[in-house]
Symmetry: C2
Subunit: 361 residues, 2 copies
Amino acid sequence: MSRVWNFSAGPAALPQAVLERAQREMLDWNGSGASVMEQSHRGKRFIEMAAQAEADLRALLAIPADYAVLFLQGGATQHFAQIPMNLAGAGDSADYIVSGHWSAKAVSEAATYVRVNVAASGEADHYLKLPARESWQLDPQAAYVHYTPNETIHGVEFHNIPDVDAVPLVADMSSNILSEPLDVSRFGLIYAGAQKNIGPSGLVLMIIRRDLLQRAGRPMAKIFRYAEHAANDSMLNTPNTWGWYLAGLTFQWLQEQGGIAVIGERNRAKAELLYQAIDGSGGYYRSPVEPSARSRMNVPFTLHDAALDTAFLKESEAAGLLALKGHKAVGGMRASLYNAVSLEAVKVLTAFMQDFAQRHG
Amino acid sequence: MSRVWNFSAGPAALPQAVLERAQREMLDWNGSGASVMEQSHRGKRFIEMAAQAEADLRALLAIPADYAVLFLQGGATQHFAQIPMNLAGAGDSADYIVSGHWSAKAVSEAATYVRVNVAASGEADHYLKLPARESWQLDPQAAYVHYTPNETIHGVEFHNIPDVDAVPLVADMSSNILSEPLDVSRFGLIYAGAQKNIGPSGLVLMIIRRDLLQRAGRPMAKIFRYAEHAANDSMLNTPNTWGWYLAGLTFQWLQEQGGIAVIGERNRAKAELLYQAIDGSGGYYRSPVEPSARSRMNVPFTLHDAALDTAFLKESEAAGLLALKGHKAVGGMRASLYNAVSLEAVKVLTAFMQDFAQRHG
């Protein structure tokens, strides 16, 4: 069939131009007579591509020189555990801000490796609003502060970087990296599973301030140590070469779009259009999230009558609108609006929503 | 350019039919209107594909029902560490057979998590022969015995599965899995990085006897625990969906070839042809490895005069023969003959070698 309008929360839509290029180059990449997947990661061609991908990312986000960029594996979930292994020594504690499903999971995976202090939580508010910065019980001696700027399931997003003084700020940006301009210098460590705004699943991008690579952490195998990955240009072992390549193509595509400022404007416009369609529906559709905390990337919404959910999903799929079913923890619908989702896709969605409301009024 | 004859040690050649199918399906997989990379791993289409891939692998290797099959990340290197984390409790020791670069690395990554007993080593023989089974100093109380059936750098391969009595045998089969029929029931745990005989890098396949999933191991985050991955059908977190898909296509291709018995015969014939060309060259080419330990998958060889190495590499590349340079630890040349390397490719290589010897005699 023809390409659908894909609102998947992840693994999510990729830019069509990226897929088309990967398709063209599948059997003969870069004049090598072989696929990029069939190349040694230690070969000249692959190393050049890998370095260009990093350079393009550095340019897109204006990453300062005192930050290393790593291309890792394991998903963000593995790094929920690996970050405390690397950044916390014996007896250390770390502050965690719990704003939804993923930050809660970060806590549970970290707990084996660091004394976790939940400095603030939105749980009592069912994660429909964010715990106000003034309420955070931060420990100035913490090894780091961890938070999740965007929660994909609950659809809440921090719209400002919290000030945590001198303690390194660690952010799981899996679902909002590269979605708007970012002041990297405010962070100690940024990490992101690739499968939303970067590329295919199985790749994790990390941006880490180099001084944090000096921390001893706990005893661990070399393969878990970020400093080793940094010292080996992320080729301590065989990286996910296909993921790295796709990420590089996505970075080029972002540049061709005009860079992150342009993408940020587009993302703002996309989210506004959808929230307006929800808020302007006279209660037919509802956003459960407090307006100030609404995510630009993941928009959960409910129908006024949950009995209509099945019809909504069936008809939207028939109309070529993919993956609108909400997460089971929240129910209802969810539209994810990552970078590769066009403004046109959101227009098609909102038009469908209006039409559905009229027909099923 | 046209497709080359690819002898890369890994990431290695993939079957051309697999690449062509992935190319065709790149923008519209399985009638979904989206790439396989753009699908939720929790969606019906992906789950069906994933289950079929596992079923096909089980059929290919006749994997008994009391073994779980896992699709993981991190490369074999991460599992050098993760295996002792899972299989060894506090105070346990494990036996390691060191037969080359990779088994030595398995020891160093494991050492944080288990008391390593090097039960045998080929180091004194420069890893050019295998330590005889009679010489192994095994501990009947060991948590497991770890060995590397095939060493890609030194080109040595065990041609029989060692008997280690009741202690679970753990094998890093990254470079020889699926290359010949295998009696899985002889093993406690088999694992393999995908990038040689399975698919692209960034995926690790594991076959583990289910009773070993009951071991407590050491305290660790859930994401490191194989039992959790098994209980969640390898979807504890987002898997490498592209790698899984390519692995599934490769399993189908193996079936189309006639299964592993046919592949095993083909691999034997390929290796014989190349070793005959080396041994029959009157000393122009030499294999440094003891004949009984020669690998079918990775064939290192030297030229009688190392001053000819540069010319050999330049001319072979010009003739469309890719990645013949030996590993820097060994020098000379190396041809890797994984499943996707055809008998025809080996014929082209041996013809080139004979021609080169005549011209540079």
